[in-house]
């Protein structure tokens, strides 16, 4: 594994709206290819393991899995730094991992343990890592878009020379507040990049049943946009690099990532009533983001089939070990119920269900 440059062509050309598309030739290296492969395989394994933990009733409530969409998280990280911010909706496990979060924090949070990235108080939808500019993890569809534009506002206000990637799905793409925030981002030239992860279904509603125009990269009207093959990590990387340069110089831009989720919307959705099994297996066979990287690794003689198999085994063990460790991690202390309500609680009394029995002075 070395850093000798390799040039890789994107699978498809970019389709641009109000801008000249970037080149299809993407700079990479053997090292990057292997890292892409390993990280995506780790993300996939982590999500499959979360599925099992959910079915074993060790994860409660909502759980939205990212398998199929890994190339978006991986390609985006490859183009940016930790000074650049990311904010997303509830499908947030892999973006957290991409920002440097650990498997132990992920599984602990999913199982409501005290080592979780939100100490067990957030759950699947509320992962954060502020030290590397990951702002969550939001449960209200579309609300993260103005929030992300606000982070971009702070970056410009503080002259940080950084940008914010604010992620949303094709379902949220129709939310009114998205257009309100985009208008302000464009008026004030904010370094905001709206990333529409178009996985083609908002829950069970196909994009064409929810959007009069499903060309999400063009939905910004006066804001430039780019349609990207979101199953191709190198296309994503190229688009995000292009978008970052654009945003710092000219203001907001929309990236529509054409992607696909293999799982249903959440754990209660088998994902098969509104789409055919053939459609899902077709995407797996023809567009799978990990298979694409695997082919590149093999064709460039960077690793052998056996070496990749060994890597997968290693990943499997890494995930299993993290789960075992998280299972051993205790639940939060009962006293944590009353922490973090405020930064400054002034010692105000707060109450449990029976206020004569349980009360606390807020720290």
């Amino acid at each position: 594994t070395d850093t000798t440059p390799i040039t890789i062509e994107t699978s498809l050309p970019f389709t641009a709206h109000l801008c000249d598309p970037p080149s299809r030739s993407v700079e990479s290296s053997s090292q990057e290819l292997l890292t892409f492969y390993r990280t995506m395989a780790l993300m996939r394994r982590m999500e499959i393991a979360a599925d099992s933990l959910y079915k074993a009733k060790l994860i409660r409530g909502f759980c939205h899995l990212y398998d199929g969409q890994e190339a978006v998280a991986i390609g985006m990280e490859a183009a940016i730094t930790k000074k650049d911010a990311i904010i997303t909706a509830y499908r947030d496990h892999c973006l957290f991992l991409g920002r440097g979060g650990s498997l132990h924090e992920v599984f602990s949070e999913l199982m409501g343990r005290q080592d979780g990235c939100s100490k067990g108080k957030g759950g699947s939808m509320h992962f954060y890592k502020k030290e590397s500019s990951f702002y969550g993890g939001h449960g209200i569809v579309g609300a993260q878009v103005p929030l992300g534009v606000g982070i971009a506002f702070a970056q410009k206000y503080s002259k940080d020379e950084a940008v914010t990637f604010t992620m949303y799905g094709d379902g949220a793409a129709n939310q009114g507040q998205l257009f309100e925030a985009l208008n302000i981002a464009a008026l004030w030239d904010l370094p905001a990049i709206l990333v529409c992860e178009n996985n083609h279904y908002g829950m069970g509603t196909a994009e064409w049943r929810a959007a009069k125009s499903p060309s999400y990269y063009k939905r910004g009207d006066y804001v430039p946009g780019l349609k990207v093959d979101g199953m191709d990590a190198f296309a994503v990387k190229q688009a995000c690099k292009f978008a970052k340069d654009h945003a710092l110089e000219k203001g907001p831009i929309i990236l529509e990532m054409d992607t696909y989720r293999y799982h249903g919307h959440s754990m209660s959705d088998p994902g098969s009533t509104y789409r055919t099994r053939d459609e899902i297996s077709g995407v797996r066979q023809e567009r799978d983001p990990i298979e694409r990287i695997k082919k590149l690794v093999l064709s460039h003689d960077i690793a052998t089939e056996k070496e990749l198999k060994d890597m997968e085994k290693e990943i499997r063990k890494e995930v299993d070990d993290a789960i075992a460790k998280a299972k051993d991690c205790p639940m939060p202390e009962p006293s944590e119920l009353f922490t973090n309500v405020y930064v400054k609680g002034y010692g105000t009394e707060s109450f449990g269900p029976d206020r004569k029995e349980v009360k606390a002075a807020l720290p």
Binding site: Y135, V145, V149, F153, Y157, K344, Y346, T348
Partner: protein, 330 residues
């Protein structure tokens, strides 16, 4: 020395902007227009368009942007032209601002102030005349402040801007032009009032009257009338609805044994109802009379002047209730 509530609010924002470059102002008409109610007058000239932002009329969008900016460490002061319009953005106030510090176990705090006129003005009808104190005060994670006087306005707004948590700051349009005596201490740029502490505006021994915002003035007038009839009323200006100063309220009720709660908002599930519950829970055996509740009528605000007057608490309502509590009514 006297000062209007408008000047008190304006000077508080001005001083905090001057003290901390992270403080900025955004909202509809806050800049070139000088504020729909002139609270932000002169700030654009003094601090420039990089600190004072005129927004489009899109509350959900700009409120979300304000909250996002606070996530990233800025200290936005977001003006709602009136709190009625905050309903367009309530999701960001509750779900994005109030809950983030908790959900992130303290990683993402939200130092933001949402401010503007709240409650009934005069003759503006149902959609522009609602009090949101009870709405916002029901949510853990928010702090809700309700100034009455110029001193309150200065001290509480400065405290709100310096606070690391989200604060809903409910002003009253009809108080903006009112002048109040103000001390040298309250005019000092370091002046700040504690959040979560009520103020006893007038001491008394026969009956406690709790209220906030414009109704404090009404309660003080009622107390004067009651004094003429030999009833000594203690008037508590709540100042902070969340945290609620239960200790001060209960200590007063334990002293007077009688309570009249007053608010302009709707009666059901209101601030009065919460205070009543707190007193029943903590000081039941001290009560010598049923708790009295004076609130806005349980109807949408009508336009006609006579009906509007009937829909809002008046001084005579407070006097009557206090006398009832003291068994002095006919």
């Amino acid at each position: 020395k006297e000062m209007t509530v408008r000047d008190a609010l304006n000077s508080a924002i001005d001083e905090e902007m001057s003290a901390d470059p992270k403080v900025f102002v955004m909202g509809e008409e806050v800049g070139q227009y000088q504020g729909a109610y002139k609270i932000t007058k002169g700030l654009l000239e003094k601090y420039g368009p990089e600190r004072v932002y005129d927004t489009p009329i899109t509350e959900a969008g700009f409120t979300g942007i304000g909250v996002g900016a606070a996530y990233a460490g800025l200290k936005p002061v977001v003006e709602f032209m009136t709190f009625n319009f905050s309903m367009q953005a309530i999701d960001h106030i509750i779900n994005s601002a109030a809950k983030s510090n908790y959900m992130s176990a303290g990683q993402i705090n939200v130092p933001i102030v949402f401010r503007g006129p709240n409650g009934a003005a005069a003759g503006v009808g149902a959609q522009h005349s609602q009090c949101y104190a009870a709405w916002y005060a029901s949510v853990p994670g928010l702090k809700v402040l309700t100034p009455y006087s110029a001193e309150d306005a200065r001290g509480l707004l400065k405290a709100a801007i310096r606070d690391p948590d989200p604060v809903v700051f409910l002003e009253n349009e009809l108080l903006y032009g009112e002048s109040f005596p103000i001390s040298e201490e309250a005019l000092d740029s370091s002046f700040c009032l504690p959040i979560g502490k009520a103020k006893i505006e007038r001491e008394g021994k026969d009956v406690t009257i709790t209220t906030f915002s414009k109704m404090v003035g009404f309660a003080l007038k009622a107390a004067e009338k009651l004094a003429e009839e030999g009833i000594s009323a203690e008037v508590i200006n709540l100042r902070s609805i969340r945290p609620l100063d239960r200790a001060t309220i209960n200590a007063s009720v334990r002293k007077t044994s009688r309570l009249v709660t007053v608010e302009e908002g709707f009666p059901q599930h209101g601030v009065c109802a919460e205070i009543c519950a707190s007193v029943v829970e903590e000081s039941f055996s001290y009560l010598d009379a049923p708790v009295e509740r004076i609130a806005g009528a349980d109807v949408p605000m009508p336009y006609a002047a006579n009906l509007e007057r009937l829909a809002l608490p008046q001084v005579e309502d407070i006097v009557r209730a206090a006398k009832r509590a003291c068994y002095r009514s006919k």
